[in-house]
Symmetry: C2
Subunit: 332 residues, 2 copies
């Protein structure tokens, strides 16, 4: 049976009441590619704006095999037991391609998936990164309006997804496998710099190795200039199995928030994230609109190939493309 279409008012009230079914439908609205859904989603968000921003936004990344789902299951249940309401979102730009989704299979989060104080939402399947970016940011807002005070945003780390997630969260946690020397797991470029904490997971299996890995990551973090004068990224050992270190991770996240708030950096960072996001979106949309023009499309491939082959100078290619705007305006 086709579900009844909800009014904007019904969605707003339902989300604010913490109604999970309506929250899910609001997220589906945000993820829809239909123009009328987009308009309604924006109306919903506008009304919910005053009720957003109240969560701890935590980004989590780690390669497949690092035990991300197990960690989130253990960490999330710890938090709900302590009275928190936890939303788990996923960013996986590959899911559209592979057809799967990292959180689609909730079986690896047995306990959390049936926890009334937890809400798990698989990654949106819209392929392009810009779309996933907007959808995830707006889903965070919806979850906050629905009363979730912790939002975990998980990413598999394909392409630029970690950077993207770090730009929408307050704290960025990187899970690594234990290993030392040549076995030491390499950190993907760009990730070392956005990490607020590197947690060596599965440290129960071989504590000595885990300790060595922690030490090596610590010294690597130490030679990087921290992005804040008031926070030095750290590394620690955790085990989702024995639950060791989970309290330390949470304590550190709280400590980070407290320091950022007392130094005035918290509000500044959130504002900067919104501002940067506005400009990124504007830039992307302008390019998208431009490259959809028929006259642009018909020249773009040739010019692009010329640039790749070294026969066309990039500035000349851009000049020619931009000239199309000018000539079409004159033609009117």
């Amino acid at each position: 049976a086709k579900r009844r279409v909800l009014s904007t008012d019904e969605i707003v009230k339902g989300v604010l009441a913490g109604n999970r079914t309506i929250l899910s439908r609001a997220i589906t609205l945000v993820e829809s590619r239909k123009a009328e859904h987009f308009v309604q989603a924006q109306q919903v968000l506008e009304q919910l704006m005053p009720h957003t921003g109240g969560s701890r936004r935590i980004g989590i990344t780690g390669v497949p095999g690092v035990g991300k789902s197990t960690f989130i299951e253990a960490f999330g249940t710890k938090l709900t037991r302590e009275g928190h309401k936890v939303a788990v979102l996923a960013v996986d730009p590959t899911s559209a391609r592979s057809g799967g989704s990292i959180l689609g299979d909730k079986t690896r989060m047995n306990e959390l998936s049936i926890d009334p104080n937890a809400y798990i939402r698989p990654s949106p399947s819209s392929g392009y990164l810009g779309g996933v970016n907007r959808m995830t940011r707006e889903t965070i807002l919806l979850c906050e309006a629905a009363g979730f005070d912790v939002v975990l945003v998980e990413t598999v780390g394909a392409g630029q997804s970690e950077t993207m997630v770090s730009q929408m969260t307050d704290f960025f946690l990187v899970l690594m496998l234990p290993g030392a020397g040549d076995e030491l797991q390499g950190i993907k470029k760009g990730v070392l710099e956005i990490a607020d904490l590197i947690a060596v997971n599965k440290s129960d299996a071989d504590p000595a190795k885990a300790r060595e890995a922690k030490r090596e990551y610590s010294s690597a973090l130490r030679i990087l200039q921290p992005s804040s004068h008031h926070w030095r990224p750290q590394s620690m050992m955790v085990s989702s199995l024995t639950r060791e270190g989970l309290d330390d991770v949470w304590d550190l996240i709280k400590q980070h928030r407290q320091i950022m708030e007392s130094e005035g950096e918290f509000t500044a960072k959130r504002a900067r994230q919104q501002h940067d996001w506005m400009w990124t979106m504007l830039r992307d949309r302008l390019l998208e609109t431009f490259t959809r023009r028929e006259d642009v499309k018909s020249r773009l491939k040739t010019l692009e190939n010329g640039v790749l082959e070294g026969t066309t100078h990039p500035t000349a290619a851009v000049e020619e493309l931009l000239g199309l705007i000018h000539s079409s305006n004159q033609g009117r």
Copy 2:
């Protein structure tokens, strides 16, 4: 006396003949903000295209005090003595603000500045990064057409300038000061990941400390996934004073090129750089054109402030701005 205006043909021939006066004037043309100069510069570049690409493009960064000028003086003279023709360019987005320019004072490069086989060009003083980016890239091409087979692009490392320089060069060298433990000089975020080589300069002063610094940077580089399967970034000790290590730096640069070429990565990287640059420029120019519109300008500040204060949703702000294109097209 006002200099005679040169024809495009005269400039092209002069540059190809290696005439330094004409090379300088061609660069001035590329750096000019006048529309007619821009057009002529592009004509010059188009004709010179087949004669470009033949140099080793090497990016060099390091904080003030690391001894960058002294290193370039020592390294540059080593290369000219070996028969190379060396161009030294500078990228300093702060120079427009400060009025100075890192290479403006050639006195720190006594020998190189009078070397007939070297050409030193201070940074362009056009303030914005996008402009400096284009000018530097085009200056590299002009130097190559003039017969320089080594182009050193120096940057002070303000803002995103290192990333920018790494995107227009084949090899990126980071100069660091010796120091160990707490004295160890922190690496700016983003720089560790683009380094092909970290050279601990001034290592003659305290070799033990320099050795320890080298070791620490090596282990930090080791835990990062390298961007190429065929190249692992390294660290070494150098001294511009005793000239120790200069040969090793050059050998490593040559080795890097050889490996990249034999693996087919060299051509691919150059093509990708050109391609990325075309898209960056297109994106920037579209945004620039858009934000210059009177109707956009009059709304932008208000919307931007709303986003910063958290009262306006970024997606809504972008939608409203993009709506202006649509409504102005309909109004015609």
